[in-house]
Assembly symmetry: C2
Homo-oligomer: 277 residues x 2
Amino acid sequence: MERIEQYNTHGGTQGVYRHDSKTTGTAMTFSVFIPGHEDGAQLPVIWYLSGLTCTHSNVTEKGEFRAACAEHGVIFIAPDTSPRGEDVADDEAYDFGKGAGFYVDATQDPWAKNFRMKSYIETELPTLTAKQFPMADMKRQGITGHSMGGHGALTIGLRNPERFRSVSAFSPIVSPLNCPWGEKALGAYLGEDRSAWRAHDACALIADGHRVDQLLVDQGAADKFLTDQLKPDLLEKACADVGIALTLNMREGYDHSYYFVSTFLADHIAWHAARLK
Amino acid sequence: MERIEQYNTHGGTQGVYRHDSKTTGTAMTFSVFIPGHEDGAQLPVIWYLSGLTCTHSNVTEKGEFRAACAEHGVIFIAPDTSPRGEDVADDEAYDFGKGAGFYVDATQDPWAKNFRMKSYIETELPTLTAKQFPMADMKRQGITGHSMGGHGALTIGLRNPERFRSVSAFSPIVSPLNCPWGEKALGAYLGEDRSAWRAHDACALIADGHRVDQLLVDQGAADKFLTDQLKPDLLEKACADVGIALTLNMREGYDHSYYFVSTFLADHIAWHAARLK
């Protein structure tokens, strides 16, 4: 692992790292904010998964999370959203291929070779993190994300409740089975058998018996993707059906941008921190 | 004036505006954050002048100022750093021409035609702001900025103490007369007669009798431009010589980037807000 950037900021350090991933077969880049702390301290970790078109840098530059992470003493890790590189398969569309890994392990060609973001986020990167950042307390992890990354946070959180004590999301794609972004991406990455998609659909995971105690979701009411792609009502119904305590904050006038995420990310960090004490 | 972007954020609105400037003879773009407020409220205004290579967007995206502006109920205005456009004179270097207006009215060709950032910031844009944003209380203005914009904030503040109740800066160029950036830019914009530069040099303005009661400056101790370009010791001496109360916070380990500015900008906003009550 190579550190390619490091800045003192908000009393801690913002780093950007690159490593050769065995999972994706490519170099992968991610960012880590480590708040100021005493020697030997063990700090909880919040994972932030980004949305379509993003790299680690969008939230790192625009997320306004560091003051809250410093206040609560939590590490913040922002991975990339797909493999990258000239040899990696891609598509002209913004919602597919590079920048759009959807946090699945693709089974279909030409995607299966590199698009293995599920294993990368669930297995390889946490192992690397535990090894490289000894102050990261891997027994206290939370996960959140935005849009496609909200989908990633919800599905990874639901599949791994023993690992993630707290799960939240911003404007998540709550059901790829029921929206154009999801149908396009999962159809191409996982094939036409929609039963294989259910492990990558928060609503289907809940219907199939996966559980967390609580979920926190913030959603802009003026988000242009609300009705066709995001559909928080499907998550509300899925949670109500089985008794998961979902807090769904509909934010009047807010859109899908980082002007929305940055407004409420500090609230989410406080919420996670309270559950990671 | 045309609004080209608007976002709900931090309980207020972040707008970006474009207008045809009579001063520069070009279209000019600037951003304004207006916190949530009651109808008819009058809110103080903080001007933020940006540094070399920047537009309004750097601080707007990376500055992390909105939470503090919302808390204190202040408007935050971020202008561009130079005229722009295909017909505007430019230079290949990053520290001269477009993105490097140095907040002066150029007297030398080819710059004199468009590079009139002093008059733009001091006269045209405040007049436009007062007209277009009726909630802006132009009797309560503060000014700050970063690097070249810190130079702009200090010099404009010192020349207009009746207008700006509070003046602060991040990593300012405190004496263009005594650094390569300043010598290059002011020499080209204002000509070789260095006496004409004194109105655009914070230390010279102080020596020549201009006064403010207090100044707040934050400076990264690991800033690579500290010794050759920024030289805060010159400002310390100028203030000590005449009894201006300068608070100079040297920040160990911090560099020249927005990771530094964003760490301390909320502190500056609180400092300005206390003086703009």
